[in-house]
Subunit: 342 residues, 4 copies
């Protein structure tokens, strides 16, 4: 049993962490903080948690967090990096769901996020929390930077191809689409039902903040620089990411076998049988990523289709998975529920 | 051909007015104002109007509006009532889509809207713009107060029953539901896709601002005080209102004939054949109201189901209909399009 | 640990039973049958169950079912009543999610379902499976008839009012609305995305099969005949029922206290604090029913708003709850998950 | 004024043709046929057309069709090709919305549609009805094969790039997504609200029937064989197609100018200003195609995003546009309405 805190529990990754952690057999939720909602019952803001979470939001305070074994940051970027240096010194281990520690290069971070990084000296020790690539490093990490939602799906889908070195690295395309919850619980006209439902659009085509993160991850996997064209889209639904990945094949290989073997033993990556294609609803509310690999018309382009729940494997579920690894729990503890379908 | 202005064209009733008026054969759109968007092209804000509206938002100015034959106010409440007295004096006729002139009783208005009415002396001359009840008065009106979206559907559905005096007036129930566009184009967390899609809820059960408007209208029709229980709900879709009305029958009458006869000749009220029930999609984008009348199990409660598009018959279309009546145009001019279905 | 079978596992109540039972600590899923899908892997039909259910659909066979401690029927009406008499004799206890055993009066059943009842002699021993009313009888039942989805929400919402005898029983109105999954997993044009999404309609106004079931239940509670006007509607979403109940108050009582006290101790009925209204999303995927009681404008009509997930508390979850009671398990076993929200 | 017939008016392209043609100033609707619905009022099947279409479905009969100036086939594939040879001989001009005459190569047709072509001798004279490519040929055509919904958006988006010969023709990717109405008005479990709403998936990755049509069209434009990777997806909404097109640039050109110039004068293709991206809702119900061209990160891949309403510019609207061209009407007649937004 460990004591756990959450900073910034009023967004969608926050309420999802609460859903998962309140049912986790080895976790005692100790503190949940929110500046804006301090003093309010959590289940007053989130009635779905009535009977599951009896806590009250508190203003963030170092000593309460320092008293925890692990603290999750479910905050917008530029919050964790202001607080983490001090908290790390207390020995509390940190799992950051924001973007603050995802890029190793402080200048690159600064270029994409529009401000200087507050603690560039910590970037080197932050571990990128993608278990399928970094499991061992996560186990020993003091500070884990959880991958973004798109980056999780795109990296997992390209992973077997790059690890086996069978595709051209200069012409990768990731056409991805996300449910609206990816935009967070913020009052924005763009994400109203009247604007974003019954609609489909691309956005951020010129350059999305997840691009450098994905390219960093893919380059790590490939062992050399990878260039990606990444176009995200907005799906008129709440949860789910679907990535359609395109790569030019350089070799003839049994791709179905390659994918199945690469992910054999991974508890949360599920390669579908040949002939099936993944659907976002099949992973709704679950920490699973499902994928399929296809070569249309037996030509030379491989298409990988990947789905995940952006709030679970793409955020809070993956963060809990990292916690399980860090504290040597069963990696699936608290993450065993089947998807909610239909 | 008349010159027309719109004050407050950045909301959903505004863009719908623009869609309808830009295709109206007898209207020249002369000015459209918005404080917040002054200087911006209309079709930059609303790309659906590219090629249909070549205008630029202007800051509201009295002389430009005074130069119009008719001005529509598509503003939140408490805007029109500040500007209307001055503009009325210039001879411009005014069609107000907001709530400012809907109630005849200034004190009642003040109780529900939380501030004193700015020009109570105008309330007596404002004509309530429901053509099916007030057509003649609308024709001669200088100031028309367009009915709210719920009030339109609820009054039209009860109208034949009250006019024929066949139901108990003390136990009326209106269970209504609206698409999210009824909440306007405002950045509110409650109306995000992640909150209001894939969800259904009642709201305003204690008392919704449309209640006094509906009770005033029903009492006018019945000739004595009517008491209504009114519960609105939010439907996870953009456009459409559905009202389910319940009343206790006091007499045996052929209700199908009663309804058909009452609305015979009405261009925008369509009583469905016996056995059919209305659906919101059948009036999507159209100015029609469709309804059905049923007596479940041949007992003593009559159920009227009514649909309209809240942005058309419930707002901008009905406002254009009022304009047509005021300027002696064909009442259906510019309103002839069939619904968009599916 | 008990052995459990499911007959008819290819519909939505079937896949929901599988989701719940595959995580139930005291259940071993022993057989799942489907005539149409016999021989197919369950997770081939329902990829959301990959990794959670390793079974293959079998043709229904008496001996395999007789080997179970409990068998769930997740079939359309008119299936269970053909098989149950024989299976009951083997000692297997039966939980029927269909309508076959919900009405005690065989003639009434026949009138609403259009065919004679196949085993009217069993109707008297079938226990209506609403735990909040019938817990003790369920504990000892050999055959449980699970309530319909609408009947669950309507009966629970009226329950405290009728038990306390504070409303007029001749003018009850239940205006209810359901997500489309209530219509089942059947190929019907009416329920296509292009027909039923972005739409709202009433249906079955003349008379819905759940009406006699609700009236039977309410009359049992009230101790005399109750007459209800019941109008169901279709919501453009998948899961969730919302019921808005209207009744005329005969006495002044503290309704908030009445409701809270009535359901105190009920694990799956949650009366919201005064001032809050329920939303379907707050119970999505959970077995909870949330409700609120309001008297609009302090007049004489009480409005109760109730939500449930039609596939959980309205079907499969309630069936598992009944099983827990029958086999003396913790009533919440396997039903503890929080709702999936957003 | 011409006399027009529709064969197969019970699907979504049929009802959309009826919506458009019933408001067309130069068209008299003379006959509408349906085997399955013969004898039924059109507005009984489609209540959205009440007051707009007073017709009754008739069984298809050659003489009634031969009496028309133009006949639209809004039928599944393999219907028109059985009837067209005989009807063509009567002098009636034919606009086929199905796939029967889209491919010039009868063997290719047969391979993708799984049966021999019924009148291969007519394929040479059928004109592919994409006005932006084939306007002159359409004007003189006796038989027009209207493009598929995906092929319209994909060809229009690639058109300026291929006409200007600035991209690599061997690595084109079209990642497209469609609303569910593209699947037609057929009872299929896959397209139920409970299956296809709140979900996103790719389908037909191995090979979709629109692939050979698009490759034929692109090859015609380019003047040599083009190879395309085409992956369609299903969007949880009713109307709209969004295509995201990827091509490797071979030359530095001002792409914004290239696109604007290419489509200058086209009434239904709208190149958005630089910096804007298209959304399906901006063309909902309209015959416009909106698109944007972008080079992400100023690298060497161009991304074109294109939207259309699949039932209008992707089907019935484009068919009416072809009719306008064939009969020398104003090309925009009956197609002038602005999109319905929100």
């Amino acid at each position: 049993m460990i004591k756990v805190g959450i900073v910034g529990g009023t967004g969608y990754t926050g309420v999802e962490l609460l859903r998962l952690l309140s049912a986790h057999p080895q976790v005692e939720l100790s503190v949940i903080s929110s500046r804006s909602e301090a003093g309010r019952r959590v289940d007053d803001l989130f009635p779905s948690l009535r009977g599951h979470c009896d806590m009250v939001f508190a203003a963030p305070q170092l000593d309460a967090l320092a008293d925890c074994d692990a603290v999750f940051y479910a905050t917008p970027h530029n919050v964790a990096m202001q607080m983490v240096p001090e908290l790390l010194e207390t020995g509390t281990r940190i799992i950051d769901l924001s973007a603050d520690f995802r890029l190793r290069d402080a200048e690159l971070w600064s270029r994409w996020y529009g401000e200087p990084h507050a603690c560039p000296e910590l970037l080197a020790q932050a571990v990128y929390g993608l278990p399928e690539v970094n499991r061992d490093a996560i186990a020993g990490a003091r500070l884990v930077a959880c991958p973004g939602c798109y980056p999780t799906s795109v990296q997992l889908g390209f992973l077997p191809l790059l690890a086996a070195d069978v595709v051209d690295l200069d012409s990768l395309v990731a056409n991805a689409a996300s449910g609206v919850s990816g935009a967070g619980r913020q009052a924005r006209i763009d994400n109203l039902v009247s604007e974003a439902s019954d609609n489909f659009k691309a956005y951020g085509v010129e350059g999305h903040r997840h691009l450098p993160e994905i390219e960093q991850g893919l380059s790590d996997i490939a062992g050399r620089a990878v260039q990606l064209t990444f176009v995200p889209h907005l799906i008129p639904m709440i949860r789910g990411i679907h990535a359609t990945l395109y790569a030019k094949l350089l070799k003839q290989v049994d791709l179905q076998a390659l994918f199945e073997e690469h992910f054999a033993g991974e508890p949360f990556v599920d390669v579908l049988p040949a002939g099936q294609l993944p659907q976002t609803r099949s992973v709704r509310g679950s920490n699973r990523c499902q994928m399929a690999v296809t070569v249309p018309q037996q030509r030379d382009t491989v298409v990988v289709t990947v789905v995940e729940d952006n709030l679970v494997k793409g955020a809070s579920g993956q963060a809990v998975q990292a916690m399980n690894i860090m504290f040597d729990f069963d990696e699936t503890a608290g993450l065993g529920g089947a998807a909610l379908s239909p």
